[in-house]
Amino acid sequence: MSTQPITPVSKSVNRRFFLKSGALAGGGLLLGLHVYGKNLNGLELDDASVFEPNAYIRIDAVGKVTIMAPNPEVGQGVKTSLPMLVAEELDVAWDTVNIEQAPLDINKYKRQLAGGSGSTPTSWESFRKAGATARQMLIAAAAAKWSVAPGDCYTENGFVVHRSSGKRIAYGEVASVAATMQPPTDVVLKDPKDYKIIGKRIKNVDNLNIVTGKAKYGLDTRREGMLFAVVARPPAFGQKLVSFDDAGALKIPGVKKVVRVENKVAVLAETTWAAKKGRDALVLQWEAEGKLESTPDHQAEFSANILKTTEKPVRADGNVEDSFKLADHVLEAVFEAPFLPHAPLEPMNFFAHVTADKAELFGPNQAPERALNELSRVLELPKEKITLGLSDRMGGGFGRRLMADTPLEAALISKAAALPVLVVYTREDDMQAGHYRPAGMYRYRAAIGKDGNLDAWHLTVSSINQPNGSRENSFPAGAVPNFRIDSINLESKITIGPWRAPNHNFLAFTEESFLDEIAYDLKKDPIAFRMELLDRSSSNSYGKRIYDPERYRAVIKKVAEMSNWSEQGKNGRYKGFGAHFSFSTYAAQVAEISVSNGKIKVHKVWCAIDCGRVINPLGAEQQIEGGIIDGLGHALYGELTFDKGTAQQKNFNTYKLIRIQDAPDIETAFINTEQFPQGLGEPGLPPIGAAVSNAIFAATGRRMRKQPFAMQPLI
């Protein structure tokens, strides 16, 4: 395969794109796109110094168009929506296009990350440009073949057409010639009004594989000579392995090997079941290093911390102290967040085959580049000697698979055993070996001035292993003249990690519940009160403001209309409101509930969203529905508690997840769709907890100050 020199196509401040073309071995065009940036979504990515493609368009000699989907697919739909961008500008019929998960040698590919709802905004321009570039090269090739001016040619669904003569030629027939051409340095992108694919309701490209059981997840990985490994890990955070006896394990038929790796013992066997039985037959001696933590200990420390103020507040506008002194009255509320496991339905797993001089890793991971860096460091192998493949699909992630611990563990076990292994977590293992949504406590105080205005807002948060447990620019920041946030970390041996919409996922519930309390105190309609605050924010903007008050108001207005907000209490049904801005997207929701015999039933949720342009409405609605049901389920039921370092909920019999009978009807409206597009994996989730808690207040007069709601008496 010959490649041509790389030609920069576009430069912008944060992202740069490079395209290079080449010929396919069997004839045809291969066009590669490279996008790089650094420090995306808080994850340190390598700054690329070499230009290598991370998305491909492949058009072979028989005209088959393949678009490689580079980003990990954890259910957020990017394997469908991002290739749509390429297909649109390439001008091919969607149903003729073949989508493949990009081959995953991450020494070559960049920004393969599923996190921070970032795939869409970072791909929007570059992917369309890749499609447009290929299209222009195909036109040039056809024009050369016909000896006509390229300007007299256009494309139509996979054909180049000569305007004057009406001659047509399929892309496949000119692909090999196109491959010899220099990619153009500037391409013209379509006017959105001409879109044929972007904005259409397109189904998940893997649907057929999923419904026939052919889709391959990490746990379905099979390799020659591979053994299954089930691992004994510390049964409590803060415990260390002293000794172990594997005699019993080795007697189980099918068990082949037992290896100790750091603080863990892995049992390798021919089947998962034999490996699990072997693991359960190990006799293990653990020893506590220091005090083992329990949930009541955390709660006691949080309670003390939230009464403190810090030297360095996370944010301080105006002077809250004075304002509290001068206040007509002060409102206060304390909210409590439990730990949450991610519990992706596909338990954590990874395949590894590590030999003296190289390593092959394969499985589900949301941030493979980070994993590669870790693997290289721990295995002491140069990155070029490590391949890290991603499974075709991943059984959910929710942030858990951003962590590198599972691939790393698999690699160390494979290395110690000198065998290819698939490390399989049981559900119980998955619950105990988590990187949880941190538990925390949030104390809010509001000063209401003599004029009846919200003068000061003060949040003091304390949470596990988080120096900043807030999102300091979150509304009503910017709308309140005196605004302060203090955050106090509680160090813990319990590991935490990003959980779908990190911090936002609980913060929105606290902010929007407290705003509701203030509105009731001021005898104002909760929505009218938010609008008033947003007006204040537009005219004054106290301190830094990251949201656009107009766009915020627009989603609120829309959801109020959709839900017929002013109608309360009809047929025993009550409404509650919540809104939140996260990941550059505005989301406002109204939940309609009833409470009978102390049981909450959520009937319907309306959601208005401004995420800018919607690439695939079918997929976008699905992300909102999923976010709402996920957020609702955890607000109603989710709670992980610890006793002496051990998670007390070990499987789905004690850790309750939402099920079909609790899923409400959901109506979603997208507005402001001319704006720059944003990702939707996260922003649909945060508002729902508040919408439901505020509806519970409307129905019962009781304020929900902690989650999960369903565990609290309502009568």
Binding site: G213, W273, Q622, E625
Partner: protein, 155 residues
């Protein structure tokens, strides 16, 4: 270890495994049919649902020794090409997000519609309430079940 002769998707498979091995692991690790998924191992999530003589069962808690001569059907055996009306409805309603739970949801729905071609909401909840979709695709699952029922889920 013990030898078993299983009938899966119309084919015979001879396996030599521990007698207490759940059918799930025999299917996945010994026979190589990985369409049936592992989610919890304690009959709580439904990811492992297969049919035993046409009735939905949880393969994660069914020891292989209890299968006997009963015919096992997995998602791979439902139809070779996804043409079963339930599979078709799942595609039509674009149900899947990560997709991991869906094989189990489909197997239960097929079994439900066989016995009850026109289930009410309550009956759908009762049948599928034993399943977990961590991605929250429930609203679309409900639509797909109803669509399959309309299309004559009896097969």
């Amino acid at each position: 270890m013990a030898k078993y002769s299983l009938s899966v998707n119309g084919k015979k498979f001879d396996v030599d495994v521990l007698p207490d091995t759940p059918l799930l692991w025999v299917l996945r690790d010994s026979i190589g049919l990985t369409g049936t998924k592992f989610g919890c191992g304690v009959a709580q999530c439904g990811a492992c649902t297969v049919h035993l003589n046409g009735t939905a069962v949880r393969a994660c808690t069914l020891p292989v020794s209890a299968v006997g001569t009963k015919e096992v059907t997995t998602i791979e055996g439902l139809s070779a090409d996804g043409s079963n009306p339930v599979q078709q409805a799942w595609i039509e309603e674009d149900v899947a997000q990560c997709g991991y739970c869906q094989a189990g949801q489909i197997m239960t729905t097929v079994s439900l519609l066989r016995k009850n071609p026109n289930p009410s909401d309550e009956e759908i909840h009762a049948a599928l309430g034993g399943h977990i979709c961590r991605c929250g695709t429930y609203t679309r699952i409900k639509k797909a079940v109803k669509l399959a029922a309309r299309k004559g889920g009896k097969i």
